[in-house]
Symmetry: D2
Subunit: 247 residues, 4 copies
């Protein structure tokens, strides 16, 4: 009997409280919708909890991270309100083996930019235009069972150049009605952790209710999970005498 | 004083002879247009010759390959008329260090598929729709000075999934008016050789007269060139006694 | 209840029959030892069968490949006795999603070289010297639970330059007592299939009885397996009218 | 007439002043030896200046970086004495296109770890043992004309696991007399900049006087240089109205 995957869904939870049209889409918060999608898709294969910015330590004290296999991150307007201490703690947790799913505007979050080492800048336009999410690696586990393409009727445009390191695995590329393209599904291995960036969805659109988007996030959670008995520590630099590896 | 880059432009040269509307676009053959673009862009930095399918050994006897730094390849309707012997010779030349630019429908050529090891299949539709060629790696030498995006008013659609190995460097992604995307600018290192696949241009459109396309091909020729004094041989598997590397 | 992984272990089975010292190590053939290691390590998670060169169609008729999730390949002295037809069939099966583990001297097999597109040449010396197999990607599933390093008391040296495409994932690097290094654990994604090259073990040494080597091969079989419901076909190039993806 | 490459050699310059045996090897500082090697190898193709920790702004005020094509970095005992402000400035300069050569113990420098996003930890042992530096990508420009292998009679061991992102291009792998291996020549593209990590040389050994090491550093400087007319700025995230790219 396998233990369920432990996912923590982190939400900034600002737009939903301050803007009525966002609250109308996500009355209990975007994090609640993401969590519900994971539970609906994975059933008892997953145990989901949520955490938000305004909780103490943003809801991410060390014990929570220690019991998290995969963390999803959505933030946008309050990246700078995430403390450097918590950002460093999450960064370390990823290097120690925790999976990270960076969603949409999390491209500019402290955690993601520190993992990438680049500016993570991009083009954008919020005109509610059609996005098509194309799988370019159909045998990748994150694309398993996903529609080709995912059709998102209305979304914010994110366009190239996306200033990220070359992805270790590129799974999805989006096109927009205005003609732009975007590498919107990118895998990275960093330390012992796996990182997946997925560009849908902006707070102004009901994208986390989209079943195909939910499928991708669920697949990505399974993909990003560490081995059950992985050590979950960041290695140091041990001095190693000759033959240290011999019995 | 640097020697000029020696480029051989290979053309299948069938559509141009058999179809009047292609001949109207390329009265001297597609290979002639590609060669002219290289000369116009690179001037005396390049020495261009051409070769076509119907010449003996398809115009590619061993001495020609030995004096070729970069070979461009355009074929479509007659891939199977390229002899296995010449395909193997070109393959070996690439592994020995010759650069290869595989253009458009060369995705299905013997040389390219043997270098890739995959089916190189793709979606397509010849509706003369707008293609935008987006640079995703703006500091790559092949993208130097290239418009963002390249606008091609009318072209055949090539769409994902493109069944290629993950590119070693991905430079361009195209979108089409119909919504599809395509990894149309892909770099590979194979043996001592560099390979660049570039998806424009179909024979039905005047794409090799497009100055931005000419710029990309010229940049790619410079990028794919071997070092001037590189050995140009495919290595064997030498038995190597202990300490063979000592003086 | 998950179905067991279906592994076919292919062996050339020439050295074992013709050379007494090899037969002493592998009395029932190298393929039998590899199969036994898989069964011992994975238990009822795996269903193993074997096939050898001298069987009709080398033991690999289409129905066998259709029922094979992962194929392991060991060959050395008789690569050219594998028919082009069977090599092409195996190549297609990999592109369609079957996993392939290419073992040791399989670097020069028809199947592996056609998948790679390069010469796959390397340095070698058969002096029975110590090899250390170092994990460089400790969170990779193929390295899970594997000793750091694997100590192989005596083996043939394989050394760089190994003329392969840049691995999509590099898991192991070996060193030899004579000072050479070798990228001996390399992952590739080709078509829908996953390919793992693993450089141990030469027929002159009891390497497939080594528990750590068995562990790597078992991990790699799990890693290379296609999704249970994957289509297992090589895609063609479908003409796709505008909006083909709409309902 | 091409302008010379502008290289700034940065040195921590602590060991050389405080430890007599290091001063004996590098009487004018390690930075002076690295600079001399570049000038000796590249002649008037390069214009070299040096900068050290104890200068104001560590010798790296904005105007110096603006006039630097490639920066080499050596630090070890005083990484934390580099101000966050200067580290951020150098990081930004790399993302804007300046090349960076991170040498030996610079693996733990603020600049390199921020570019990588990982711990950059490794095994080590300072026993003065033989290191062999093997080229695994012989057609890479950084390996051009370099001995196979480079023999370093005595050096500190750096061993795997080296906790770095998968290199975009892996050029060199070292072995040590004690049996360890190390990915000691790694290329990265980050933003518009190119980064090369090269593991030789520790301050206790005369490694920057070694002609083959000098050759590698010179090749790497040429490889890492931005295009002469590159913009040298880090992109922001521009809002882009529909059709912004049209004339």
């Amino acid at each position: 009997m396998t233990e369920p995957l432990r996912v923590t869904v982190w939400g900034e939870n600002v737009h939903e409280r301050e803007e009525e049209h966002v609250r109308a889409i996500y009355p209990e918060g975007m994090h609640a919708a993401i969590a519900a999608g994971l539970s609906a898709t994975l059933g008892d294969r997953v145990a989901v909890r949520t955490a938000v910015l305004d909780e103490p330590e943003h809801g991410l004290p060390a014990p929570v991270l220690a019991e998290t296999d995969v963390l999803t991150w959505w933030g946008h307007t309050a990246h700078d309100r995430v403390s450097d201490e918590v950002a460093a703690r999450v960064h370390d947790a990823v290097l120690g083996g925790m999976g990270l799913l960076a969603l949409h505007s999390a491209h500019y979050s402290k955690v993601f930019t520190r993992l990438m080492g680049t500016s993570c800048s991009l083009r954008w336009r919020n005109d509610g235009e059609r996005e098509l999410v194309w799988t370019v690696d159909p045998s990748h586990p994150i694309a398993e069972g996903v529609a080709q393409p995912i059709v998102i009727e209305a979304h914010e445009m994110y366009g190239e150049v996306f200033d990220i390191p070359p992805p270790d695995e590129l799974v999805f590329i989006s096109s927009f009605a205005g003609g732009e393209v975007f590498r919107g599904g990118c895998c990275y291995r960093r330390g012992a952790g796996r990182v997946f960036y997925f560009s849908p969805g902006d707070q102004d659109y009901p994208i986390y209710h989209h079943p195909e988007v939910q499928k991708v996030i669920a697949n990505a959670a399974l993909w990003a999970a560490p081995a059950p008995d992985a050590p979950r520590t960041v290695p140091g630099s041990p001095e190693s005498p000759v033959g240290w590896y011999a019995a």
